[in-house]
Subunit: 169 residues, 2 copies
């Protein structure tokens, strides 16, 4: 396209003869946060495409279902912590799932502020269909990544560890 980039303003404050300027050369395609976000978005979309049309649930709903399947009756706050979602997001996903008949809400006896979210039989049946899809998807992903799969997982472990970037101080 443009042969000579013109160098419009030869900043006199740069006395060095360095040929590459990291500020000039900055490229989104090599920026780790961008790459991570783009890869995650693609992956989530590809996975969601597997179940959205057939089962009519969204990603937040999937996360709530998966955690309920794993953990039994739990509160909204518990899902908030374990499924990396804002509590309002959890609350709304839970309401949609309840409306659809997949989960039930009950108040905790010993602490009436807490809810006890729980899969209904219909919800368990849904999970019997959803989990194989998820496991299959992960298997394909691991196969595609090859030996990089474990390394990716290890790196994600670092990024997900508490500390810098943790939800709340």
């Amino acid at each position: 396209m443009t042969p000579t980039p013109a160098r419009p303003m030869p900043e006199p404050s740069e006395p060095s003869g360095g040929q590459t300027n990291p500020l000039q050369d900055f490229d989104l395609a090599g920026f780790l946060p961008y790459r991570l976000a783009a890869a995650a978005a693609r992956t989530s979309r590809a996975f969601a495409d597997r179940y959205r049309e057939e089962f009519g649930i969204s990603i937040p709903e999937w996360r709530v279902l998966a955690h309920l399947h794993h953990a039994g009756p739990v509160s909204v706050r518990d899902i908030e912590a374990r499924a990396d979602m804002e509590k309002s997001k959890v609350s709304r996903a839970a309401s949609r799932l309840e409306r659809a008949g997949y989960i039930s809400k009950a108040v905790n006896d010993t602490d009436k502020r807490l809810l006890e979210l729980q899969l209904t039989e219909s919800g368990r049946e849904l999970m019997r269909q959803l989990l194989p899809v998820a496991i299959q998807f992960q298997a394909e992903m691991v196969e595609r990544l090859g030996p990089a799969a474990e390394r990716l997982d290890a790196a994600l472990g670092v990024l997900l560890a508490p500390g810098p970037g943790g939800r709340k101080e």
Copy 2:
């Protein structure tokens, strides 16, 4: 007394005496797509927190600015492809940036369907402040990851490669 722990649904297709059922034991915390999405969300949020308050721009806007800085005058469709965003998202981010005075829109002479988005001087000045923040953030991220940084990048390369999960067939 049979010490068998109930085994609620003895799937007849599983003749083995395996003690763990991957469907029962499924845990979101070990699910690669979830881990990837959560790590990306944390990272993006942490990065956005660095510039949102001070500069008032969002992630889509940052991406548009970064690509314009790197590539010069380009169309919406070009950003759509290179910054992994829906064209409507690009269009709206560009409108906000134009309103804020950071970029200019012009119609391409040879193809009047195309726009030529371009940084204004104000936009270039903004990038002179933003890029060091981005470079610093990435440096901290790489330091935190240690040797896992390169491996993460390689794995992301696999996931971002065209093919399965590519935007459009």
